[in-house]
């Protein structure tokens, strides 16, 4: 019976020490914002087979190569945009707040997962904009299909 009491005492001590820590917790939430954009297109549009998709992509990092297009956690992506127009608008809601360092319009030119390239970049303020909680950030992007941005970008 003495052994039993000792064991229960150890258990009680252990439980009292351990019961306060519950491990993983939900991380703090800093809110979300909205990106509202306008796009101006100039130059000759790509052929339909080379224009499988077109979207606004805002990145919270500067990509090093095409593999970074899979960093979906650090990107805000719009639904598909209109094609063969001279002007378009987009809206992306529930966007993670913070600085967006490299953003623009991306063209999917082939069926492969990583066959994306930028066709126009946000260039104001050195290409950086900020999204604040419950705020709307407005940006403008110019796309010149005859003069595409260099990718990967030079740092």
């Amino acid at each position: 019976m003495g052994d039993m009491k000792s064991a229960l005492a150890i258990l009680a001590l252990f439980l009292s020490v351990s019961a306060c820590d519950h491990g993983l917790e939900p991380p703090d939430f800093s809110g979300t914002g909205t990106i509202l954009g306008t796009i101006e297109y100039v130059g000759e549009w790509p052929s339909p087979e080379n224009l499988q998709d077109l979207r606004f992509v805002g990145m919270r990092f500067v990509p090093r190569d095409t593999s970074d297009f899979l960093q979906l956690n650090l990107m805000a992506i719009s639904p598909g945009l209109k094609k063969n127009v001279t002007f378009d608008e987009f809206r992306v809601d529930e966007v993670t707040t913070g600085l967006y360092l490299y953003s623009g319009i991306a063209q999917k030119f082939d069926s492969d997962l990583l066959s994306w390239r930028p066709v126009g970049l946000y260039t104001n303020d050195a290409g950086v904009f900020s999204v604040a909680p419950n705020q709307t950030t407005e940006i403008h992007i110019r796309v010149d299909f005859d003069n595409l941005p260099v990718f990967p970008p030079t740092q």
Partner: protein
């Protein structure tokens, strides 16, 4: 001459076997009888147990030389060589020397035969039937979480850091049922849920490579589920359990799922019947159904599985065993969470597109799985020195996706149908009492058709036929020194143009330096052939994955030094300490391969895992209190970079306590701790929010049970501390749950 030989053979089978007999008495040093002492003729099924007076009798012995082994728990066993002439009846008296301290546990996994756990020359942990029952174990992962040096990451078993986490596409641990591999036809994964829980005698966990004995898959270790013998009186066990998952404590997590505020139920029913109907025939059957609504959205499952075993001995020298297993499972496979703020909802990976109406998140694909296992074996005892075994195995798998919109099963052409089949022959020769030799040959192949797999030659059927030759030697060099050696040669065909070969040696020594204390040293190789899924998966539905025909086998090499023993300390304290150095090359893991613009399973560079493990077990003299504890230290490094291997916990600790509280009421606890992995690297984290999050694991399970007559009732609280952890990237570990269990056993 030929006819003469046939007549002699028939005489041997029908006449001489019946005429000779042996009777006598087994006593201890002080002359007291030893009831229950076992007297067995080695290499045969002839044997008897001593009665209360220590007396026994064995009839129908063969003419010639036989080796008789006399053993009893708590005594040193003895061997005696006897020569029988025709119609000779011998009468003997044997004295066994009493042991001061020794466990009566036995294991078979270390050398394909039953031997005392104390003297095996490798690290083996045992989970007993009693422990399984106490913990309400209904799937194998539940049983293994409390074993020292073993971590279960989702469905992947990780022995001493051998596995990390590799997306459940292939297991680096070989699972066996009564010494026969239990596999699936596509991924070589371990069917953790198919466990005949009421008929398990024990589970043996061999830590370290076991390929010299068991071939591919035994890279990091072997798990062998040993089923019970047939009882002399019919035994029925019916068990039902029901319980609930408690809602998680954080409102942020609960609000992400409409059922997050609810207690989520689970229940199950298991029935088992076992009977030895005659000395020649025995059987048992076991079925289990379980329904779990799941603690996360789209994580529910219905599982039915049944197992049956029958043994027929038409003559003492012949034995036919058949094991049959069936499983049907409908499940939502929760793969990854939505985010660390919404851990109960499966995530979606998309490139900005809104989800299709009524579609499931792609973090939880639905499917219906059916599996069958058929494992017959035949044993023939030729004489006291020779016997052979022929074993066959057939595994079938059928996986059908479920349509998100209609809930109906999709066409089988969109799923997987696979068969894995094989056979092996094993010849056992005991030329002398101190020498045992085993030779064998085995052949396996896979036939799988799947919308996910594309073979190299475009043929939808066929894959990776494999042939192996193996040998095994046990030699007692002196009374205290045992040598075990083995060599296995495997040859398998990747496709029509490519073959692979592998040679797996092992060598170990066990030395009893004082009674009850054994020092061991073991060296061995392991390997694992890439699974069908790893080599041939070619699919773009959820993620782009391309096949890799250049995958090579994973290889491992292990050196271990250990000591095992027991001393009296207010009861009995037994311990096992080991230090090990393991090297691995060619780990197979998925990576994003830019050249392929897709994920692909590739071989990674070499790695080293050094470590040490200590296991302690103490039981008081009155056997009212039992405490187990095990600590494992792992230092894992990639050789090229010096970085830690991902998903390996540097420190692991498990402990359990069981006590008889009052009359038939018992209580107990299990606690397991694993430190936060020093490194988490996952291509998952590129597109799944917060997949890089990790932390310590600290889980406490409590239980209380009582019995009256054939009935037993138990209450179990799992994760009583309500500690939240990630089981593997982007998957919340099981939160607190409560279980009430009723058992009827007669």
């Amino acid at each position: 001459m030929m006819r003469f030989a046939v007549i002699l053979w028939l005489m041997f089978l029908s006449g001489d076997i019946a005429a000779q007999s042996l009777k006598g008495r087994v006593i201890s040093d002080d002359g007291a009888p030893i009831p229950g002492a076992n007297v067995l003729v080695e290499g045969t099924t002839f044997g008897a147990s001593a009665n209360v007076d220590g007396r026994f009798e064995i009839t129908k012995l063969p003419v010639g030389t036989v080796v008789v082994r006399i053993s009893s728990v708590g005594f040193y066993s003895d061997r005696v060589t006897l020569v029988f002439a025709a119609d000779e009846h011998k009468e003997v008296e044997w004295t066994l020397k009493e042991k001061v301290f020794e466990s009566d546990e036995v294991v078979v996994t270390a050398s394909r035969r039953e031997q005392p756990a104390l003297s095996v020359p490798v690290s083996v942990s045992i989970v007993s039937a009693e422990e399984l029952s106490r913990r309400n174990v209904i799937s194998l992962d539940d049983a293994l979480r409390s074993v020292s040096g073993v971590q279960v990451l989702d469905n992947q078993i990780n022995i001493r850091g051998s596995s990390g986490f590799a997306y459940n596409t292939g297991s680096r641990v070989l699972m066996m049922l009564d010494g026969r591999p239990l596999l699936t036809a596509d991924s070589d994964g371990i069917p953790l849920e198919a466990l005949p829980s009421s008929q398990i005698e024990r589970i043996e966990v061999l830590k370290g490579p076991g390929s010299a004995l068991y071939g591919s898959g035994a890279l990091g270790g072997v798990i062998n589920v040993i089923t019970k013998d047939f009882p002399d009186t019919p035994t029925t066990t019916v068990r039902t359990f029901a319980g609930t998952w408690e809602p998680v404590r954080y409102q942020t997590w609960r609000q992400g799922w409409k059922h997050g505020e609810e207690f989520r139920p689970f229940w199950g029913l298991s029935a088992s019947y076992a009977q030895k109907q005659s000395p020649k025939f025995g059987w048992w059957g076991n079925f289990t159904f379980r329904r779990d609504s799941g603690y996360m959205e789209l994580s529910g499952r219905d599982v039915f599985h049944g197992f049956g075993k029958a043994t027929w001995r038409p003559k003492p020298a012949y034995k036919l065993d058949v094991l049959l297993g069936l499983m049907a499972k409908q499940q939502d496979a929760f793969i990854f969470w939505s985010s660390a703020r919404d851990v109960l909802s499966p995530g979606r990976v998309s490139f900005g597109d809104p989800p299709k109406p009524n579609s499931s998140p792609n973090g939880a694909p639905d499917n219906f799985v059916k599996q069958i296992s058929f494992l017959p074996s035949f044993t023939h005892f030729l004489n006291a020195q020779w016997f052979y075994e022929i074993k066959a195995r057939v595994f079938g798998s059928l996986v059908q996706p479920i349509d998100d919109q209609t809930g109906e099963l999709k066409n089988l052409s969109e799923g997987t149908v696979g068969f894995r089949y094989g056979a092996e022959g094993q010849l056992n020769w005991f030329p002398q009492p101190a020498t045992r030799l085993v030779f064998g040959v085995s052949r396996d192949a896979i036939t799988t058709e799947s919308s996910f797999f594309t073979t190299s030659d475009g043929d939808a059927l066929g894959g990776q036929p494999e042939v192996a030759l193996f040998s095994h030697l046990e030699q007692e060099l002196t009374e205290d020194l045992q040598l075990v050696g083995g060599l296995r040669y495997d040859h398998y065909q990747v496709d029509n143009a490519t073959t692979e070969t592998r040679l797996s040696p092992k060598l170990s020594l066990a030395y009893t330096w004082v009674p009850g204390q054994v020092v061991r040293v073991a060296w061995g190789h392991g390997f694992r052939v890439p699974s069908f899924a790893e080599r041939f998966t070619d699919d773009r539905e959820f993620l782009p994955i391309v096949r890799n025909l250049d995958l090579r086998p994973e290889r491992s090499q292990s050196i271990e030094l250990g000591i095992r023993g027991a001393i009296p300390l207010g009861g009995l304290l037994s311990w096992d300490f080991s230090a090990f150095h393991n090297t691995y090359s060619g780990f197979i893991e998925p990576r994003l391969v830019l050249a392929e613009q897709a994920f692909q399973f590739i071989n990674l560079p070499n790695a080293t895992i050094d470590g040490a493990e200590i296991q302690l077990e103490w039981q008081d003299e009155s056997e009212r209190l039992k405490i187990n504890a095990g600590y494992t230290f792992l230092d894992s490094k990639e050789d090229a970079t010096g970085e830690d291997l991902p998903f390996r916990a540097r420190h692991q600790f498990v402990t359990s306590l069981d006590s008889k509280i009052w009359r038939t009421i018992t209580g107990g606890l299990d606690f397991r701790f694993a430190s936060q992995p020093d490194r988490v690297e996952s291509d998952f984290a590129r597109f799944i929010p917060d997949a890089e999050i990790t932390g310590d694991t600290r889980v406490l399970d409590l239980r209380l049970s009582g019995s009256k007559g054939p009935f037993e009732v138990a209450v179990i609280v799992n994760n009583a501390l309500e500690y939240y952890y990630v089981e593997r990237p982007a998957l919340l570990g099981a939160p607190r749950r409560y279980t009430l269990r009723l058992t009827y056993r007669k």
